[in-house]
C-alpha cells in the first residue's frame, strides 16, 4: 500500500513538472476530436486525414524547417470536454495551434479558448454560421468546412430545378445544426421559388432510435419533395425505417440531404439498402462517378487508402487534411509560428486542397462548396456513389 502511495506521488510530481524547454524544431498542433461515442465514426477518419497531411508535410521537410507534431485528444463530441482539452493542450503541452473539433457544439466552445489564449484555431467540420459571425468572430478562428447558409443555397438551387414541386417538407435533427440547416435552406428556397410552400417540419432528436412516427407524420402531409438534414447513424436508421413505409416512393426519391450522406462511409454502411435516386453531397466523393475528377484528388485518394490501410478510404479524411494544409500554408506565408502573424497571413489566403483551391475571406470562411449529385448504383462498387459530382454552390471566381 505504501509503495503504491509513493508511486502515485512520484507520478503526480512527474506530471506537474513542466516538460523540459520546448524543442524549437517542432510545431505542435492540438487536435481535439471525438474518438469515442457515436460521432467517432467521423472523428477517426478526420484524424487520419490530419495525420496524413502531417506525415506528408514532414516528409517534404516540414514547415519553415520545423517538423509538425499532431497531438490528438478525444473530445467525446462534448463541448465541455473539448474546452478542457484545449486548455490542457495550451497550458501543459504548449501547443502552437489548435485544429479539430467535430460538432457545432464543440467548435464555438474551443473558439473562445483560442480567443483567450490568442492561438489560431482551424475548424474542419462545424457548420454553425455563428462560429464566424460577430460577436463570436475573432482574429484567430478559421473554418475550412462549409456552413449551413452555403449548403442551404446549394440545396435550394437543386430543389428549385424540380419545376413541378410545389410542396416541400424538412426533417432535421433537433439541435443547433439541424435547426439552422432547415432555416437557411428555407430562406434560400423562398428567394428562388416563392411559389413553393413548406408543408411540414419534423424535428427528431439527434440519435433518435425510431423515426417511424416522424416518417408517418411527414407522409401524412404529402410533400412533393423533402430536405433532410439527417446524417451518420441517424440517416442509416431513418432510411431503413422509411423504405418499407414507402416514404421514398411517395416523394419519387426527391430527397435532398446536405449533411454528407453522399460519402462512401455512409454508402458503405447502408450497402444495398441505400435509397438510390436521392440527391446527396460530400466534401470528397472519393469514388468519382464521372469524368471531372481533379488530378490531385486521384493521388490523394491513393495515398489515403494506403495510409488508412483501407480498400476505399473515407470521405471525411479530406477535411482533417485540409485543416492541416491551411495551417501549414498559413505558417509558411507568415514566415513565423506566432499565432498573431499566422492569423493575419491566413485572412485572404488561398491554399491548395486535393479538390482545388480554397480562400479564407474577410470573415475567416472558405464558404467551401461540396460535391452534390444523384446517388446511383454502379456495378463496379458494392455501394451507392454520387453520379457526376458537381461543386455547389458553383465557385465564384475570385
Amino acid at each position: 500500500m505504501r509503495l503504491q502511495h509513493c508511486l502515485g506521488l512520484a507520478l503526480a510530481v512527474a506530471a506537474s513538472v513542466p516538460l523540459a524547454a520546448r524543442a524549437d524544431d517542432t510545431i505542435k498542433i492540438g487536435f481535439p476530436i471525438p474518438l469515442s461515442g457515436p460521432t467517432a465514426v467521423y472523428g477517426e477518419p478526420i484524424l487520419k486525414g490530419a495525420q496524413m497531411a502531417v506525415q506528408e508535410i514532414n516528409a517534404a521537410g516540414g514547415v519553415l524547417g520545423k517538423k509538425l507534431e499532431l497531438l490528438p485528444r478525444d473530445s467525446k463530441a462534448n463541448a465541455d470536454e473539448a474546452v478542457r482539452l484545449a486548455r490542457e493542450l495550451i497550458i501543459k503541452d504548449s501547443v502552437d495551434f489548435l485544429a479539430g473539433t467535430l460538432t457545432s457544439a464543440e467548435a464555438p466552445a474551443v473558439s473562445t479558448v483560442a480567443k483567450e489564449n490568442k492561438i489560431v484555431f482551424v475548424a474542419p467540420t462545424a457548420k454553425l454560421t455563428q462560429l464566424t459571425l460577430p460577436p463570436q468572430l475573432h482574429p484567430y478562428v478559421f473554418r475550412v468546412s462549409s456552413n449551413t447558409a452555403v449548403e442551404g443555397q446549394a440545396g435550394a438551387s437543386l430543389m428549385a430545378k424540380f419545376t413541378d414541386v410545389k410542396t416541400v417538407a424538412t426533417i432535421a435533427p433537433d439541435y443547433a445544426y439541424g435547426r439552422d440547416s432547415a432555416a437557411d435552406f428555407i430562406t434560400a428556397l423562398k428567394k428562388l421559388r416563392p411559389d413553393i410552400t413548406i408543408v411540414d417540419q419534423e424535428w427528431p432528436k439527434l440519435g433518435e432510435a425510431d423515426f417511424t412516427p416522424f416518417i408517418n407524420a411527414q407522409m401524412g402531409k404529402k410533400p412533393d419533395a423533402v430536405y433532410c438534414s439527417l446524417f451518420a447513424g441517424d440517416f442509416v436508421t431513418f432510411t431503413k425505417e422509411a423504405t418499407p413505409l414507402g416514404y421514398f416512393k411517395a416523394i419519387n426519391n426527391r430527397l435532398l440531404d446536405p449533411a454528407e450522406v453522399g460519402t462512401i462511409d455512409e454508402a458503405q454502411a447502408l450497402g444495398d439498402q441505400y435509397p438510390y435516386g436521392i440527391i446527396a453531397d460530400a466534401y470528397d466523393p472519393v469514388v468519382w462517378g464521372g469524368a471531372n475528377e481533379p488530378a490531385e484528388h486521384k493521388t490523394f485518394v491513393k495515398d489515403l487508402q494506403t495510409f488508412m490501410k483501407s480498400q476505399y478510404g473515407s470521405g471525411w479524411a479530406i477535411v482533417g487534411y485540409e485543416a492541416i494544409e491551411a495551417l501549414s500554408q498559413g505558417i509558411k506565408k507568415a514566415g513565423s509560428t506566432k499565432s498573431d502573424d499566422v492569423a493575419k497571413a491566413m485572412v485572404g489566403m488561398t491554399f491548395d486542397t486535393p479538390v482545388g483551391k480554397r480562400t479564407f475571406n474577410a470573415d475567416h470562411e472558405t464558404l467551401s462548396p461540396e460535391y452534390w449529385g444523384t446517388m446511383v448504383k454502379e456495378a463496379a462498387y458494392p455501394f451507392a456513389i454520387i453520379k457526376d459530382p458537381q461543386l455547389l454552390p458553383a465557385p465564384t471566381t475570385n
Binding site: 474518438l35 469515442s36 461515442g37 457515436p38 460521432t39 467517432a40 465514426v41 472523428g43 477517426e44 433537433d174 411540414d200 417540419q201 419534423e202 424535428w203 427528431p204 432528436k205 440519435g207 432510435a209 425510431d210 417511424t212 412516427p213 416522424f214 416518417i215 408517418n216 407524420a217 407522409m219 401524412g220 451518420a232 447513424g233 441517424d234 442509416v236 436508421t237 431503413k240 425505417e241 418499407p244 413505409l245 414507402g246 462511409d265 455512409e266 458503405q268 454502411a269 447502408l270 450497402g271 444495398d272 439498402q273
Partner: protein, 292 residues
C-alpha cells in the same frame, strides 16, 4: 385528418412501443426482482446488435442467417450476463444503490470500449430478412412486415413473462425471492441460482432486442447510452418492477410520442417528458407499480 393517416400514426407509435418494450422488459425484471438498477442493460442491448451483425457475417451474409444470428446474439449476451452476475453483481446485492450504480456505469464504459475495440467505429448495418422485407396495405396505410412482426413479438414476450412469473413453480420462487430473500434462503431454496437465472434471462432479452433492432437501425457506438434513457422512462411510467406496467408504459410512450409530434411538431420529446413528470407527481410509483 384522414383516418388512414391516424391509423398509420397509431401503428408507428406501436412499433416504437414494442421495440422499447423488448428492451425495457429485461431492465424492469432485474429491477423488480433483484432491486438492481442495471445501467449496463443498454450495453447488453448494444452487444446483442453487434453480435447479430457478426453472426450474419459468419452464417449467411445475405439474409436467411439473420434468425440464427439473432439467437446466437441473445445467447451470447445471456452467457455474458451469467459471467457478470456470478463474478461481480453477486457481491453487490444488499449494498447501497450507489455502489450498484457506479458498478453498472463502469460496465457501460468498459463494454462500450470493448465493442469499439472489437468492431471499430464504423456504422454497421444488417439487411431485413427476405421473408419480412416487404410491406402490406392495411386501411390504406403501408405497414412494413418487419414492424408487424415486432408488434407480435412484444405481446408474446409479455404474455410468456407473465405466465412464467405467475403460473409456474419457478415463478413462485422468483416472486418469493422478491418479497423476502432471506426467508426464502432460510427455507433452503437456492436464491443465488434464481438470481443468476433472472439476470441471464434479462440479458438474453437485451441481446435479443439488440439483434431484432438491427434490420431497422444502424449499429453505432453509443447506441447503448441513447436507448437506456428511453428504457428508463418507460419503466418509470409503467412502475418499477411491474412487467405489464412496462408493457403499457411502452405503449403509452410510443403513442404519446407519435401523436405528440402532430400537436407540438417542434418539441418531439416534450410530450413524453411532460407525461413522465405528471406521472411522477401524481403516482410516483408508476402506473402499475405498488407504493414503495
Amino acid at each position: 385528418m384522414a383516418p388512414s393517416f391516424l391509423f398509420s400514426q397509431f401503428m408507428g407509435g406501436l412499433t416504437t412501443a414494442m421495440f422499447l418494450f423488448l428492451i425495457a422488459s429485461g431492465l424492469s425484471l432485474v429491477f423488480g426482482i433483484m432491486r438492481v438498477i442495471n445501467f449496463a442493460h443498454g450495453s447488453f442491448y448494444m452487444l446483442g446488435a453487434y453480435l447479430a451483425w457478426q453472426g450474419v457475417q459468419w452464417f449467411h451474409p445475405t439474409g436467411p442467417g439473420f434468425w440464427a444470428a439473432s439467437l446466437f446474439a441473445a445467447c451470447g449476451v445471456g452467457v455474458l450476463g451469467a459471467v457478470v452476475e456470478r463474478l461481480f453483481f453477486r457481491s453487490l446485492y444488499g449494498r447501497e444503490e450507489l455502489y450498484q450504480l457506479l458498478f453498472t456505469y463502469a460496465l457501460v464504459l468498459i463494454l462500450g470500449d470493448a465493442a469499439k475495440f472489437l468492431w471499430g467505429t464504423d456504422q454497421l448495418s444488417v439487411s431485413t430478412p427476405p421473408v419480412l422485407a416487404g410491406s402490406v396495405q392495411i386501411f390504406g396505410s403501408t405497414q412494413p412486415l418487419y414492424n408487424l412482426f415486432i408488434m407480435a413479438i412484444g405481446p408474446l414476450i409479455a404474455f410468456l413473462g407473465w405466465l412464467v412469473l405467475n403460473r409456474s413453480g419457478v415463478g413462485r420462487m422468483v416472486r418469493a425471492a422478491q418479497m423476502d430473500r432471506e426467508m426464502l434462503d432460510a427455507l433452503g431454496a437456492n436464491v443465488g441460482t434464481i438470481y443468476t437465472g433472472m439476470f441471464v434471462f434479462s440479458s438474453f432479452l437485451a441481446g435479443l432486442s439488440g439483434a431484432l433492432v438491427t434490420p431497422i437501425q444502424s449499429i453505432v457506438p453509443g447506441m447503448d447510452v441513447l436507448i437506456i434513457v428511453q428504457a428508463f422512462i418507460v419503466v418509470v411510467i409503467g412502475g418499477m418492477g411491474s412487467f405489464w406496467g412496462t408493457f403499457w408504459g411502452s405503449v403509452i410512450y410510443g403513442e404519446v410520442l407519435s401523436f405528440g409530434i402532430l400537436i407540438f411538431p417542434g418539441f418531439s420529446l416534450f410530450s413524453v417528458f411532460a407525461l413522465m413528470a405528471v406521472i411522477l407527481i401524481v403516482r410516483p410509483w408508476g402506473l402499475f407499480g405498488r407504493p414503495l
